[in-house]
């Protein structure tokens, strides 16, 4: 039986890890390569990096980080943030990442999903979705809308429709981030997660809101997620990955226990 994946997420700016709270007030909390090694040895099933470097002339720092991470850890990892072209994808994959994640660029230009899938295989392409609850309307029948620019720009696109379209275009996985829950540490958005997960045939990683192991239990069971992204709850040492996994295991969620 397939294990549910626990995935620490590292935000990287100018080659350093940060953790944003609601995308604001980022503070530096370490070296991404060392943090990746730490989580690899601590039992992470996968690692996600988001490059939040603002200026494009510093982007190559991230490629160097990816290369060093690939030499250090032997589990899959993905890289997102600032991926706008097939060439950007190629650089990250050649540097050693398993997957690339596209978010705003795919909203503006959905073809990047199909072109990326064609060039590198569906399994390489993760669609990152930032979603806000707006209530059901004619234009947004699911009540969840796609936003970009860290939640500031509403795109008028229904989140459920976008997830289904992206699967058809060739996305291999969805990383679903609730802007409402992000940084709150009060739990994942369960309704949103189960809605998307039950209506696509590709794996869904839940993101945003994890504060304690119970939250992961909820999203991996009722939320129907295939994997759960975590950040603050492990970055600041409040919980360990093995502690979270043994809680899940005791409660009947299949997780990887040996590494």
């Amino acid at each position: 039986m397939l294990s549910k994946r626990i995935i620490p997420c590292l935000d990287v700016r100018d080659g350093k890890t940060t953790k944003g709270i609601k995308f604001k007030d980022n503070v530096d909390i370490g070296d991404p390569v060392e943090m990746a090694r730490f989580y690899y040895e601590a039992g992470a099933d996968e690692i996600v990096f988001y490059d939040i470097t603002a200026s494009s002339d510093k982007r190559d720092i991230m490629i160097d980080v990816v290369r060093r991470v690939a030499e250090t850890i032997f589990i899959p990892f993905s890289v997102g943030g600032g991926i706008r072209t097939i060439e950007d994808m190629r650089k990250v994959l050649l540097a050693g990442a398993e997957k690339v994640s596209v978010n705003s660029a795919a909203v503006k230009n959905p073809e990047i999903i199909s072109k990326g899938a064609e060039a590198f295989g569906n399994q390489c392409i993760v669609l990152g979705m930032d979603v806000k609850h707006v209530g059901k309307s004619e234009k947004i029948p699911s009540g969840y809308e796609i936003v970009i620019n860290g939640g500031r720009t509403f795109m008028g696109i229904d989140a459920l429709k976008w997830a289904i379209d992206a699967e058809k275009l060739g996305a291999g996985e969805i990383c679903l981030n609730s802007i409402d829950a992000d940084g709150t540490c009060e739990g994942y958005e369960l309704n949103l997660t189960s809605l998307i997960s039950e209506n696509v045939g590709i794996p869904v990683i839940a993101s945003g809101g994890a504060g304690k192991p119970e939250h992961l239990y909820d999203v991996l069971t009722r939320g129907k997620a295939d994997a759960a992204l975590i950040a603050s709850m492990v970055h600041y040492g409040t919980y360990s990955i093995s502690g979270i996994k043994s809680y899940l295991d005791k409660n009947g969620v299949k997780v990887r226990k040996s590494w």
Partner: protein, 209 residues
Amino acid sequence: MIAIIDYDAGNLTSVARAVTHIGFECIVTNDINEIGKAERIIFPGVGAAGSAMESIKRLGLDKAIKEAFSSGKPILGICIGTQIIMEYSEENDTKCLGIIGGKVLTFRFDEIRKNGAGLKIPHMGWNRILLRKSHFILSNLKEDDEFYFVHGYYPAPDDPEHLIGTTEYGIPFASVIGYKNIIATQFHPEKSGSPGLAILKNFCTWKPC
């Protein structure tokens, strides 16, 4: 020297990095002479069977791999490399190398859903191996070791003698196959943490009889 066969099929650097990490020398190559000279061969890959076979034929690697097999050199297949050594793949209706008899089948979504609601395609993530037969490269395997998979197709060898290990995903499927000097895994040992690195290390010292 270990030759990692390069046929434009995805993340070959990760296999090379893992082999280097465990202390063995390797080259990533599509040069038939280099492959001929190598002591062992790793045949990795991600991607689709159709384009993989096309590149293999275009580069003349089909002959090189078959020759390596008949010469008795240890060969390790990984993921698409494991599927390509079968006779035929349902993916892109592809005629493959035929080193191991049998077909590569697609996970049938409906079937899998029936047996385990909510299962997704591809089979992506960590899963266990149930040993059907002992094998040197799996000699360190512990019951709760898990390995990283990402695939929508799986090999189905005709001869049960070629089945080394199985994995459960809605149905039990062959996740390790092989005979004589070839061994092949559907999962990615280079991405499976220390149990995966142990398999690679065993392969690097394996002496098939």
